[in-house]
């Protein structure tokens, strides 16, 4: 059978069907539209033939809407709402970031109620860099280039102390190929990453001196910000 030509039984085009049931070609419009003197392309949004039925949910509906708003707001404010927080160089944003940090006082890690219900790989939120460094230090490899901020280093030291021996144990017993590959991949990806993000993650951990000291200043900052909003940024 030749590939060319229209075979019978291939989907009938509407044109065929139109002709057979006796409608003018081109569907209803062609037969109806009066020929106007000015020919122009049909409007993109032709006038509506009928209006939508009015909405009516009643009191129940209002309550449901309020509930929905509450839920969405809650999720927005909770640690389950992830977003890239872009850090700008001016002072105002810097404090703004900390303000956000104080508002979202729980981390994603806190969200999880029981880690035994999750795959292990998800548990290590924010800890990969520490693990990696541990691994590298134990192997004696070169360090990954990092921003030389004293604060971060101090944090790391504090956290290492907190971690205790557990992490070490994991590194050694789980030192199989797959995990190594994961970690090397992580190293590559994180090297090229916005380090600022990680700074933020780490700084969101509880109980660091740095954060606590800022918390005290929080309220003052809020007021100052209010004024700034009205007058425009102060340079």
């Amino acid at each position: 059978m030749a590939g060319r030509g229209r075979g019978r039984g291939g989907g009938n085009s509407f044109k065929d069907i139109n002709e057979r049931i006796g409608l003018p070609a081109g569907g209803p419009a062609a037969g109806e539209a009066p020929v106007e003197s000015v020919l122009e392309p049909p409007p993109l949004f032709p006038p509506l033939e009928s209006r939508p039925v009015p909405l009516d949910l009643g009191v129940e509906g209002e309550y449901l809407l309020a509930l929905k708003r509450d839920f969405v707001e809650y999720f927005h404010d909770s640690p389950s709402y992830l977003q890239d927080i872009v850090v700008k160089a001016d002072i105002q944003r810097y404090s703004d970031r900390y303000q956000t940090a104080t508002l979202a006082s729980r981390t994603t890690a806190d969200l999880v109620c029981d880690w035994t219900h999750f795959p292990k790989e998800l548990k290590d939120i924010g800890s990969k860099p520490r693990r990696k460094r541990k691994l590298k230090s134990s192997k004696g490899n070169a360090k990954v280039p990092r921003k030389a901020e004293d604060i971060i280093n101090r944090l790391e030291e504090l956290e290492k102390q907190e971690e205790g021996s557990d992490a070490e144990g994991e590194v050694e017993t789980d030192g199989k190929k797959v995990d190594n590959n994961d970690e090397i991949k992580d190293a590559d990806s994180e090297a090229g990453e916005e380090v600022d993000e990680e700074d933020l993650d780490e700084e969101m951990d509880d109980g660091t001196d740095y954060r606590n000291s800022h918390f005290d200043n929080g309220e003052d900052y809020i007021d100052e910000e209010e004024d700034n909003l009205d007058d425009g940024p102060v340079y």
Binding site: L48, E49, V53
Partner: protein
Amino acid sequence: MATRVKQEPVSPTSRDVSSPPPGVNHNSQIVEREQRILNLLQKSTKAISDKEILLEIPDLSPQDRATIINNLLQKGFLDVFKQGEKLVYKFKEPSCPSKIKGADNEEKIVYSIIEKAGNKGIWTRDLRVECNLDQTTLNKILKKLESEKVIKAVKSVAAARKKVYMLYSLEPDSSVTGGAWYNDQDFEAEFVDVLNQQCYRFLHQKKEAVKNCKDGPIVAQNMASASSKDVWKYISELGISKVQLAVQDIETILNTLVYDGKAERSVLADGSLMYRAVESLLPPPGIVRTPCGVCPILKQCSDIGSINPNNCVYMTEWLE
């Protein structure tokens, strides 16, 4: 088709001395045979062909056959039709000769075909095929018969511009006129709609009347139901119809109400139809409460392109 059966030339045969002179015997033989063929025609319910005639009278010469057929045709005892390549003959009662007084055979045939079509009539084209006359001849005949008020032309609703012919005195069948719903070829859509609305009003009122019925749902439902006769009575009394409507006509309207989802029909034990107004199971769904539900260009709407929810004109209008 020729109105005369062609006579074939007779070949001279040797005479038989013992038989009576061929002329006299032949004539009476023909008369006798004509009678036999007539009986044969009468007996058969369908048309007979030359073959059947020969079966009946095996030694009938084609000549004689032709003579007989023509005689019978003249007297109006049969019709001649063409079936494929051959001719067939069908018995008919010789009808009132007065109607076709002075008419020739051609007219007679045309007339008989039209007569047979009864009150449904016959299309011009079909007529032509059956009588096998050419267009001009046929037209002449038709004109003549029409002017004599023997036949008439009726426009049919089944196809515009086409006519059917029927005997003058007959009332055209409703399949031709369209019945109550057609006024001279035009479908009376408005009339039908008005009837539809009135029927619904009647049923709805009945339903409302039983709203506070305390006697249980079956009683309530029975009271809310109306037979097609009840509705017919109501509509007739309203007097909104110029034409006399039959109960069956009203039933047709009531059925459209059922298809509108506004009424339900049930059949009683005696076969009569009962109708009652019903409420839809659901309120209008969510989609048709938004512009998208009535949007003619929904299929073209997407994230990319000039038709999208963010610049939708219908949305903007609806939101104001």
